[in-house]
């Protein structure tokens, strides 16, 4: 039985809860960090469906529903049903949250462009896992590659701390009237969800201001606001020029809303990426736990006298193209370690920089393996040796 208690939380400004409130350290798992974020996010409703490695996070959200932190919560019929229910609830004007990962993401996939197209400020956590077949429950970030073009904003957490902050801040970024788009907060399954670390959290007796559906740029479906506009999303089925133009301009508007999110992301997440050793000739660009492994490799390289820089990407949509272009300007080699076979991050980087032969799309591990730091170290050595050869030849 979950302990029942009366929850008394004070609503405070987002800036207070994000930046000013005194934080205490808790030694918790990534799943527990989700619970702590949702406790403080003033979420009205959550819908869950179990899938490893996400299940525990939504159990814990259920627990805090039982404690009175949320107004409604239930277990849906499958991931498509859950993502649909979350859409219905969001169109009805409440703040919603759910989470999934791996095969669950793909089962629900049709809903993600639908969320973006309907301008729903849904926040969803995705705990990355390999997709079938053959069956695996192990971490693998291939699903992020699939999700990049859904129109959703995509954040990638490296740690439980990132996960906590990104989820909490996502509600405020997603609900800005000039954005009003869904945000997917991704974290690598098991590596983040099931491991424990120190996470700094603000007090649990404060929470974000509630969602105001009347600040939405598209009408809330409650039959309360004149003049009535019937459809939440534009319904353009005719085969004529006006229909084509309407649909095309709507898609452009969804992408433009994503672009307008940049200023809010800068303000709340403190930028799109975090860097180390910006002046080194060799740069590692990574996101998620690949960044953790990269940091370790950089320490080891330093001991061997090789200076290596790092750009840890926190945000993948909108893609920080300008920031990356500036950073790689004088780099000799750009190493992109990834936890997937397709190399979607290397592909993204190659698409925005000049002379993309500098991009080394390696090392890659997939199928759920951890990434030995040695693999990154070897890549660093290889690149350093190549640079030395150039210098002396």
């Amino acid at each position: 039985m979950i302990e029942q208690k009366v929850i008394e939380q004070k609503i405070v400004e987002p800036e207070e809860i994000f930046f000013k409130a005194r934080r205490e350290k808790q030694f918790i798992t990534g799943s527990e960090a989700v619970r702590e974020a949702i406790k403080r996010a003033n979420v009205d409703m959550a819908v869950s469906y179990p899938i490893t490695p996400q299940s525990e996070s939504m159990h814990l959200v259920g627990d805090i529903y039982a404690q009175g932190y949320l107004k409604d919560y239930y277990r849906g019929e499958d991931e498509l049903g859950v993502m649909s229910a979350v859409a219905g609830a969001s169109m009805g004007g409440v703040r919603v949250f759910t989470a999934t990962g791996g095969p669950g993401t793909l089962r629900a996939f049709e809903m993600f462009p639908t969320w973006a197209g309907a301008r729903l400020p849904v926040v969803c956590a995705f705990f990355c896992r390999g997709v079938n077949s053959p069956l695996t429950i192990q971490p693998d970030t291939i699903e992020i590659g699939f999700m990049l073009d859904t129109g959703m904003l995509i954040f990638h957490a490296e740690t439980a701390q990132d996960l906590f902050d990104m989820i909490l801040k996502s509600f405020i970024i997603a609900e800005k009237p000039d954005v009003h788009l869904p945000i997917g907060v991704f974290a690598d399954g098991f590596f983040v969800t099931h491991t424990r670390e120190l996470v700094e959290v603000p007090p649990e007796d404060i929470k974000l201001p509630s969602y105001n559906p009347y600040m939405s740029p598209v009408p809330v479906m409650d039959m309360e606001t004149p003049p009535v506009r019937q459809m939440r999303d534009p319904f353009v089925m005719k085969s004529n020029f006006i229909s084509y133009a309407a649909h095309a301009s709507w898609q452009q508007e969804v992408r433009a809303a994503g672009e307008r999110a940049r200023k809010h992301i800068k303000k709340y997440l403190g930028g799109f990426l975090e860097t180390e050793n910006e002046d080194a000739d060799i740069l590692i660009v990574a996101s998620g736990t690949a960044a953790s492994q990269a940091k370790e490799a950089i320490i080891r390289a330093e001991k061997e006298g090789i200076k290596v820089g790092l750009a840890k990407l926190k945000v993948l949509r909108p893609f920080p193209a300008e920031e990356i272009r500036r950073l790689v300007k004088n780099k000799k080699a750009i190493i992109v370690p990834e936890f997937n076979i397709t190399g979607w991050l290397a592909r993204e980087i190659k698409s925005v920089i000049e002379d993309n032969s500098r991009v080394v799309g390696a090392p890659r591990v997939f199928g759920g393996m951890t990434m030995p730091v040695e693999l990154i170290s070897n890549e660093i050595k290889k690149q350093q040796e190549a640079l030395n050869e150039c210098k002396y030849s």
Binding site: D44, M45, V47, K71, D72, Y74, G76, E77, D78, L80, G81, V82, S84, A85, V86, A87, G88, A89, S90, M91, G92, G93, V94, V96, E110, M111, T114, A118, P213, P219, M221, D222, M223, E224, T225, P226, P227, V228, Q230, M231, R232, D233, F235, M237
Partner: protein, 287 residues
């Protein structure tokens, strides 16, 4: 909300289309009208794009005239011929994907309950037999299992008509349709019975050939859902385009099928639903 939902900003009265002005002046919001009064008020649907003789179009018109509370009703639709007409319906409505309507309706209903706990906000699913009986059946049934307080209305034209007349689960056995080139191999799904066993407190079949009865069934279904739990209404909507009969024969076919029992007209009320409806009749009886 009553007629306020469509009120016009002061100064803009003259430039609003006439249909809109009529809706404000003479629409059904807050007036408790029903099918008996059709033709005496501005209806909620205007200039739909459905085929001549379409059974869906007529049924939809009758459904909209029978809503007990149109000013606080939200419709959730799904892909199909009927969804093409929803942009001409003067009520908030949602079109999401094909088959996920009952899951969307669940989220919506719960959200409206959170936001307006003291107010009756009806969520009504209206979809075709493909959306409700086939591709969406899992999500439809799960909304019934969960006892969501929503009404599901199937416009049953016995085929996937919008995509060109493919067989659906609701097509009759032996029907030759696209994708059933030698005739459909299994019987029509007994959805009214499935609805009852899955948790619907009210389930009924009807055709637009009996408009007054259809109106009563729809009204009852929505009022029962508001108080007690999920309800299901299945309406036979003949499709002249895909079943290749003359548009003017639609109603005749509905009547015939009603009469010869090939479209059995049924009504099931759970004991609490029966008690509730009897209470309604007492309330509504003239003194």
């Amino acid at each position: 909300m009553s007629a306020n939902i469509v009120k016009i900003s002061p100064g803009f009265e003259e430039i609003m289309p006439e249909d809109y002005r009529n809706l404000v002046k003479d629409g059904p919001y807050g007036r408790g009208l029903d099918v008996d009064k059709l033709g005496t008020f501005k209806e909620l649907i205007e200039e739909h794009p459905l085929c001549a003789g379409c059974g869906l179009a007529l049924s939809l018109r009758l459904i909209l005239a029978s809503l007990p509370n149109p000013e606080d009703t939200v419709i959730v639709g799904t892909t199909g011929c009927n969804s093409l007409s929803f942009s001409q319906v003067a009520i908030h409505n949602i079109h999401s994907l094909f088959g996920n309507q009952n899951a969307v309706a669940t989220g919506l209903k719960r959200a409206l309950k959170i936001r307006f706990p003291q107010k009756a906000k009806d969520v009504v699913v209206i979809g075709g037999d493909g959306g409700i009986g086939d591709i969406g059946l899992g999500m439809v049934m799960h909304s019934w299992f969960r006892r969501e307080k929503i009404t599901t209305i199937m416009l049953d034209n016995e085929s996937y008509s919008n995509t060109g007349g493919q067989e659906s689960g609701m097509s009759c056995e032996g029907a030759v349709l696209n994708m059933a080139p030698t005739g459909k191999k299994f019987p029509k799904i007994s959805l009214p019975e499935i609805a009852r066993d899955a948790g619907c407190v009210y389930s009924a079949t009807i055709t637009p050939a009996s408009p007054k009865r259809l109106g009563k069934v729809v009204k009852q279904a929505i009022l029962i859902a508001r108080e007690l739990g999920p309800t299901y209404v299945q309406i036979y909507c003949p499709c002249p385009t895909n079943y290749k009969f003359k548009p003017q024969e639609s109603l005749k076919r509905a009547k015939e099928k009603e009469k010869d029992g090939s479209y059995p007209i049924k009504e099931y009320l759970s004991p609490p639903a029966k008690e509730f409806v009897e209470g309604l009749e007492v309330v509504n009886k003239p003194r």
